[in-house]
């Protein structure tokens, strides 16, 4: 039942195949993709496999937050399961959440207990890992408002809980942050943060630093104003709140704010880079993962796309959307900001995770953050200053021509800018971008970043092609389809020093699950069809796979059980933005269903069904 013969393609890339684009001035040409398909060189010849020499957080074998460590590496030092024995990996136990919706949460493992959060109705289950089959210890039902379901743009997902200070803390779709006693499940505090009547929801996994828990809102599609809020873990009281748009005092921009690029310098840019008052509904929500650097006491996170979607109604750079904030973890003061996609044209959120690494860079070691952005560029950014060291394309793109490292500007191909009444074909990457929320992992043993992402393009149809009987309207219809190569998804191993792919594995569907890397030189990830896989971290070769009951869009984790054995866990349950076609039973005959996904996933309903089951694996 477990492992089978593999039939999909693994591409290896010659060291000479991908051009070094440290200056990021040109876009990866179409021809480059062809090279991906044709190369036959052995593994390890592409981006180099070389051990990482930077410092890493100590690993206690638990998984206390979605990102594993503050740096967002999602790397586990456990190596019981490794390339030599993973073929024997077997299902150990399962747990049915009873919620057949998109399962994006990372299970949290601490003190021999596993905590699982479901999509709305956001139940939390505590499972006792000390007993056979991990029976239910307790569960908590927050009874969230059913109205929240209507406000969530992209299924009713939740990305998981966090453990700190004896508490399990998580967010509910209807806008609450909840802290429970991790032992008893008793409610300790509950704070209302997001207002669903304004279209705000919360889907993100909170993060705790010191005595504060950080929470951000979702709902960028519905005219909300983005923020991140710090609550005291002790009592749930709001310590500070930093908006992503509006006047400096509300964005917590003050004397410490030193952005690297001129375009981010000035007073109240969160007001001035918008039409009058448009910042009030300008988006910039904070629904991705946060990172934290203890040495500088800075948190890092990305802001979502600006709203409304139609860019013509919001001329200006639309600060501080589609960018990265570095803030003081205690006070929330902004320290720097960089905008990947000023005046976003395509729904390119900047929420993707920032992986904090200390990289050798042109002769010295730089403290950087590495991020695979929706706009198709892999950024290496000095995390102390916000300076972009490199921005290298990792997908086929028709919409941009590079990033100007002198000004930080994203160079756009203006012929692909959406205009009311015009039809624009072959927009690559499309709205979910080159990579969406699905988190990468990094292995210090290989020095490679394992990035699950999309390879997709879109056509935007003119307003006249829209039809609602009796009601003429101006609108944009997106239709997504696979980019060059015909595969909608790809797992790539990225060499951040050389700025190139070491290997790639393609998938018919977008890879909407996260990855985890282990000291056993394995990378675990899932597919929309429901395969849970272990790839060789050095070659991409699939060494083991297991077909779960539903599509996988979640975050794999691995931990050491009370019996001393290594376990790997994943929630299976299709949903999320693309997968809501299955979870919400939408009609794929309408190609623009689920904001354009219908056409890209015409047969997804026939290859997988809704589900909501946790699978846990171990060696026999």
């Amino acid at each position: 039942m477990a492992s089978q013969k593999m039939s999909f393609r693994v591409h290896h890339i010659k060291s000479t195949a991908a051009p070094v684009l440290a200056l990021g001035l040109t876009v990866l040409p179409l021809g480059c993709h062809k090279q991906l398909q044709n190369v036959e060189s052995p593994a390890g010849m592409g981006g180099q496999i070389r051990p990482y020499t930077g410092a890493m957080e100590k690993d206690d074998g638990q998984w206390v937050r979605a990102t594993k460590d503050y740096a967002n590496t999602r790397y586990s030092s456990l190596d019981q399961i490794n390339t030599g024995n993973v073929g024997a990996l077997k299902l150990a136990w399962t747990f049915d959440t009873g919620v057949p919706r998109g399962q994006e949460a990372a299970p949290i493992i601490v003190n021999n207990t596993m905590y699982v959060v479901t999509p709305w109705p956001n139940k939390l289950f505590a499972l006792d890992l000390t007993k056979p089959g991990a029976p239910l210890k307790w569960s908590y039902d927050p009874n969230p408002s059913p109205a929240a379901k209507g406000e969530a743009c992209c299924d009713w997902v939740n990305r998981g809980a966090v453990f700190a200070d004896g508490k399990i803390i998580y967010n509910t779709l209807d806008g609450f942050t909840i802290a429970l006693d991790a032992n008893s499940g008793k409610l300790l505090w509950r704070t209302h943060l997001a207002d669903i009547t304004k279209g705000e929801t919360i889907t993100m996994a909170p993060m705790v630093v010191h005595d504060k828990v950080f929470v951000g809102n979702s709902g960028g599609e519905y005219g909300v104003r983005g923020w991140v809020t710090a609550l005291n873990t002790k009592d749930g009281k709001v310590a500070w709140q930093a908006y992503s748009t509006g006047p400096d005092n509300e964005v917590l921009i003050g004397s410490r704010f030193k952005p690297y690029y001129a375009t981010d310098k000035g007073t109240d840019l969160g007001v001035k880079t918008w039409p009058p008052d448009a910042w009030r509904i300008g988006g910039g929500t904070v629904w991705g993962f946060l990172s934290y650097d203890p040495s500088s006491n800075l948190i890092y996170y990305g802001t979502s796309n600006p709203g409304p979607w139609n860019p013509e109604v919001r001329p200006g750079d639309n600060k501080w959307t589609s960018g990265i904030f570095a803030r003081d973890a205690d006070t929330g003061e902004a320290v720097w900001f960089y905008q990947m996609s000023p005046h976003d044209l395509y729904d390119w959120d900047g929420i993707n995770e920032n992986v904090l690494l200390d990289l050798p860079w042109q002769g010295s070691t730089r403290k950087v953050l590495v991020r695979a952005d929706r706009n198709g560029f892999m950024y290496v950014i000095d995390r102390t200053s916000g300076q972009v060291l490199s921005a290298t394309p990792f997908v086929y793109s028709t919409t941009t021509t590079g990033v100007d490292l002198q000004t930080g500007a994203l160079k756009r191909e203006l012929s692909k800018a959406p205009k009311t009444g015009q039809e624009i074909r072959n927009i690559c990457p499309t709205a979910p971008g080159a990579k969406d929320w699905q988190p990468s992992s990094f292995s210090p043993r290989t020095g490679l970043l394992y990035v699950p992402h999309q390879n997709m393009c879109a056509d935007e149809e003119a307003e006249e092609a829209n039809y609602i009987q009796g009601t003429p309207y101006v609108g944009v219809t997106d239709r997504f389809y696979a980019g060059p190569g015909g595969n909608e998804g790809e797992l790539m191993a990225w060499d951040p020093i050389n700025g190139k792919k070491a290997w790639t594995v393609t998938d018919k569907y977008p890879l909407w699950s996260g990855t985890v890397a282990t000291a056993g030189d394995l990378v675990f990830y899932g597919t929309m069809e429901g395969w849970f896989r272990a790839a060789n971290a050095r070659t991409g070769q699939t060494l083991w796979q297991f077909k779960t009951g539903s599509g996988i869009i979640g975050q794999p984790v691995t931990y050491k059980g009370p019996d001393g054995k290594q376990y790997v866990a994943i929630l299976s349950g299709i949903g999320g933005w693309p997968g809501s076609i299955v979870a919400g039973d939408l009609d794929t005959r309408d190609a623009s269903t689920s904001s354009g996904w219908g056409g890209a996933l015409p047969d997804i309903k026939s290859v997988t069904a809704p589900g909501g089951t946790l699978y846990v694996f171990a060696l026999p």
Binding site: D277, G470, A591
Partner: protein, 259 residues
């Protein structure tokens, strides 16, 4: 799907009984005042009359509209005729318009506002409701954003059973005003006996060229020139009847566009 198959069955049978094939009309099952499964919409009535004039049986194919409808349903021959299509809509062949209407400001009658212009200072500080159509706000959003009212905009879902929500929100003081597509506003205000006033938006086009008044036609497949010509004849003949029907539904109409 059920009804679609039914109309297909009718198609197969009709040659045997020697009559013309039924006229398949795509229509929304729940989109009053335009159309409903119980045939209570004015488009249902006009379509039935039109089919009879053509000596064809009307066969409604219940379809949800919105994104991708043309490509995925109409162009795949789900039906012969679309009702309520803007004149000269791309990708299809449209008839002469059977009515012309406009976006209207909806205000509470007791306030005697009669707001008509997006520059009207009385718009300041009011919550302004707009129909949310798929992910977008209706065309007046462009003008309202340009005139600095973006923060006052409230998108209201007006699809299906939510049709009356936007005018009810004005009546209940949840909105200061709303800019609503005329037929929807006119019908629901009359239907619910709401103390509201409608004033056509003026001028009838945005500076960007996006119009606020639209001539509404039927549409056929591009290849169906003959059917289009037949429909044009019928619509000309039925014009007084259509006008009476629209009046009964309290649809604000404009004279045909000057040419």
């Amino acid at each position: 799907m059920c009804l679609r198959s039914l109309s297909f069955v009718l198609l197969l049978i009709t040659p045997a009984i020697g009559a013309a094939a039924p006229l398949r009309i795509c229509a929304d099952p729940d989109n009053l005042p335009f159309s409903s499964r119980t045939l209570r919409g004015f488009d249902n009535r006009i379509a039935v009359l039109t089919a009879h004039e053509l000596h064809r049986k009307p066969a409604f194919v219940w379809t949800r509209n919105g994104r991708g409808f043309l490509r995925e349903r109409f162009n795949k021959d789900a039906c012969d005729v679309l009702m309520g299509a803007p004149e000269k809509m791309r990708g299809v062949l449209t008839t002469i318009p059977y009515y012309r209407s406009e976006y209207v400001f909806v205000t509470r009658s007791r306030e005697h506002l009669k707001i008509a212009s997006f520059d009207d200072p009385r718009l300041n500080g009011r919550k302004i409701g707009l129909q949310a159509l798929d992910d977008n706000l209706s065309p007046p959003s462009l003008a309202l954003i340009r005139t600095g009212h973006v923060a006052q905009l409230v998108g209201i879902n007006s699809s299906g059973a939510h049709g009356p929500d936007i005018v009810r929100a004005v009546a209940d003081n949840r909105l200061g005003t709303a800019v609503v597509w005329g037929p929807l506003a006119g019908y629901w205000i009359a239907h619910d006996h709401l103390p509201l006033t409608v004033t056509p938006v003026s001028p009838l086009a945005d500076a960007s060229g996006v119009p606020f008044a639209f001539s509404i036609s039927m549409a056929v497949h591009k290849r169906d020139l003959k059917l289009r010509d037949q429909l044009n004849e019928v619509l000309t003949k039925l014009s007084p009847t259509v006008a009476r029907i629209l009046t009964a539904y309290n649809v604000p109409t404009l004279a045909k566009e000057a040419r």
